[in-house]
Subunit: 451 residues, 2 copies
């Protein structure tokens, strides 16, 4: 292999995992990583916990500094370096040093595009007012935390009812804020089905959070340059802090301009080795289209687990190895106040096209036996193919200890188990952890009866 | 089917689950359950939490009373009724009413033996002194809790270093007792491998519990009828409370006397439908030999999960259905103070005979990302077949949230996954729940490198 010089565009999960894996496998390879932000390899998923004060300083989120990459792994990690163009014919990228404003060409033998995804920022009146924040970078997070500490806001409006919105709602409760969530969709968390989402809404309402769903933000009102209210078609909500959590879009302008055809949601299309159709160009992470493990459909979601796995696969293959990324189930988990939420595989809304005849069962159980004083409600929903009983997906909403059971469902899905096999699983039981019949098994039983 | 009258011997998990399942499937069947104790269908696994004061009254442990079985399910549950003999030729059992001392024959068309297991009680000098307790029944548990409340003991010695011993140690810490554990084996918890067990011992020692392992109790000293000390070959430990937790043995005298050949550890041998070789006689629960799901070996352990599953299978088949108990992995979980412990499948000590060439890997990880303030250590050990990479078993010892991951390993085992497939699992990640690479995946990776 002529892998003398690997250039990585993007210095977070996918990019730096690939760089590290490449270094592990090859001592001689030159590795250069270009990151336009100030930090590489930071824990974006930790941001809500830093904002909420659970994690003290943002430095804790920085897994490894550019200096460490340089000294410990001989990886030339260049922060504040933005790649402006990929020049596949020449085997070069055009780079701008954002501090010195110098532009230069950097040659590569292998190129990894790991440009990630960016938070959606709507082009609405008042969007640039002070007090409106995103949380998709450490820089934004430190600004927000600074604002919470020093400006002592009282009324927060979160725009967006997805994971990030809910996690930040929990963070804001720690600051004693009045919190409202405005969601464009009729329900929170579109990655779970409506009856499960309703349980989350109930819990949020119990926490004192006001929900305004099926509402669209039309503008932000400002006073003296600071945000004063959020305007929807239906109302004006006073706010001295606004959090934008309206989802992500893949950063693929560079890839498209380099001649790569884009897939769903404008993602880069690779094979399972993370190879793009352009020779010597690889891609991994949030900018890449994945395949769904249940039915092979093209699928995109922004998850650190997928990015890390794809980065590792890319780093292996770039250095002459043979690894493949099998696909994803979109397994994810989150916590909003006392409620745990998890999902994996396909959900009803994914199956709405009717191509697969399926059956679904939801059960309401508890996290521990009824005699244990800390037992909490826990709902499990499972979906299976009607003709074969093959599991298609699952969702969990419940109290402490509920949601990590999603891993049983994810493992069963990946192994291709049918619901009667899930019913027979020998799962762990002791009163601090579960009921004798695990709620996942109870759900499987109900589903068996319907298959 | 001539299932007019089902008699069940034993009124706990297996017996009453079978009775309930039989009733669910058949409205007309007469069902009689004989229980020699005072209670049916009680949560034996909840006893440590009742003793420790987490569960308030012992009534909370009684899932369903005989009256409820009678009124709600038309199940004639007779407590304080001991079956003295099974008469297969006559299709009858000989029963003694322990209150009236009346003996009578009860006819059956189908008989389920669900006699459970009894705590081992060594025949040692002083064993009958006051202050020496077992915890294998609600009656014993209420006596122990009463003793804790009113006698205010100060020094407890637990004889036995298995699950029950550890769970009771946790219970006793809640009463502020000085606690010692004496174990005959050189390590705590023989159901996990030595290097994992060592982690548990360290945690127990940190909790201030004194461990005396590889020591055998030879006698109990008493003063005025009350226990004063526990004597081993090596020392005399002062004690005003002794807990016996020396394991269980299946209750199979009745079965043997009825002509049934016994299997390992004197268990009743059934087929996967819970049928014994004697016509119309079934058996389920702690008195029955199970097959190990990994390699089919005969296996016995006392677990509520197995009893409930076998009871359900028996109840289905007794009423003309067709269910089977697939076998067990011996999946179990427990908590001792801040430490969670879980295991499933085969362990190194199971494979010591050398018939299967295996490889094992242990990793030390953490329950949450390093930046989360509550992250705790977590060790995972996995074993795989050397030639194929097929997973054979796993063990986990760690802090809060660690142990329920055992279900991923159990599911993978039951699905027959190889370690490289476990490495590829799409497991859930968010900072309150896990590291980006789940510790189970990290262990699988280490094992992959060895396979």
């Amino acid at each position: 292999m002529s892998t003398d010089r690997l250039v990585v565009i993007g210095g977070d999960a996918a990019g730096m995992t690939a760089a590290s894996q490449a270094r592990r496998r090859s001592k001689d390879l030159q590795i250069v990583a270009m990151e336009k932000g100030r930090y590489v390899s930071y824990a974006a998923c930790g941001i809500p916990y830093y904002v909420g004060g659970i994690v003290d300083g943002f430095e804790r989120l920085l897994v490894r500094s550019p200096e460490e990459f340089r000294s410990k792994q001989s990886i030339d990690a260049r922060v504040r370096h933005e790649v402006l163009q990929i020049r596949p014919q020449a085997g070069k990228v055009l780079v701008r040093d954002l501090d010195s404003h110098r532009e230069y060409e950097e040659p590569y033998d292998q190129l990894l595009i790991a440009t990630g995804a960016s938070a959606v920022r709507p082009d609405l009146p008042g969007i640039d007012a002070q007090g409106i924040f995103g949380v998709s970078s450490v820089e934004q997070a430190t600004e927000l935390r600074d604002f919470l500490e020093h400006q002592k806001p009282k009324r927060a409006v979160i725009v967006g009812g997805g994971y990030i919105g809910l996690e930040l709602a929990e963070s804001f409760t720690r600051w004693g804020l009045d919190i409202s969530i405005i969601g464009r969709a009729p329900r929170l968390l579109r990655s779970i089905d409506p009856e499960m989402s309703d349980l989350v809404s109930e819990a949020m309402t119990k926490m004192g959070i006001d929900l305004y769903l099926a509402e669209e933000v039309t503008a932000f009102e400002e006073q003296a340059g600071r945000v004063a209210a959020v305007v929807t078609e239906k109302r004006t909500l006073p706010a001295d802090l606004v959090l934008l959590a309206m989802g992500f879009k893949p950063n693929t302008d560079l890839a498209r301009e380099a001649g790569l055809a884009l897939g769903i949601k404008d993602t880069i299309v690779t094979d399972d080795h993370m190879r793009t159709p352009l020779e010597h160009i690889w891609a991994a992470g949030d900018c890449v289209q994945a395949n769904h493990l249940v039915d092979g459909r093209p699928y995109w979601t922004s998850l650190a687990t997928i990015s890390s796995k794809q980065g590792r696969v890319a780093g292996t293959n770039i250095t002459g190895g043979d690894a493949s990324f099998p696909g994803t189930l979109g397994t994810s988990i989150t916590k909003a106040g006392p409620v745990e939420i998890a999902r994996t595989g396909l959900q009803e809304t994914d199956l709405a096209d009717g191509d697969v005849a399926f059956t679904a069962a939801k059960i309401d159980s508890i996290t521990q036996p009824g005699y244990m004083p800390d037992n909490e409600p826990m709902a499990v929903k499972l979906l299976a193919e009607k003709s074969t009983g093959r599991l298609l997906g699952g969702q969990i909403v419940g109290g402490a200890g509920a949601a990590m059971r999603i891993n049983v469902i994810a493992t069963a899905l990946q192994a291709g188990l049918a619901v009667d096999q899930i019913h027979d699983l020998d799962l762990a039981y002791a009163p601090p952890f579960s009921t004798v019949w695990d709620p996942v098994v109870i759900a499987a039983r109900k589903l068996c009866d319907q298959c």
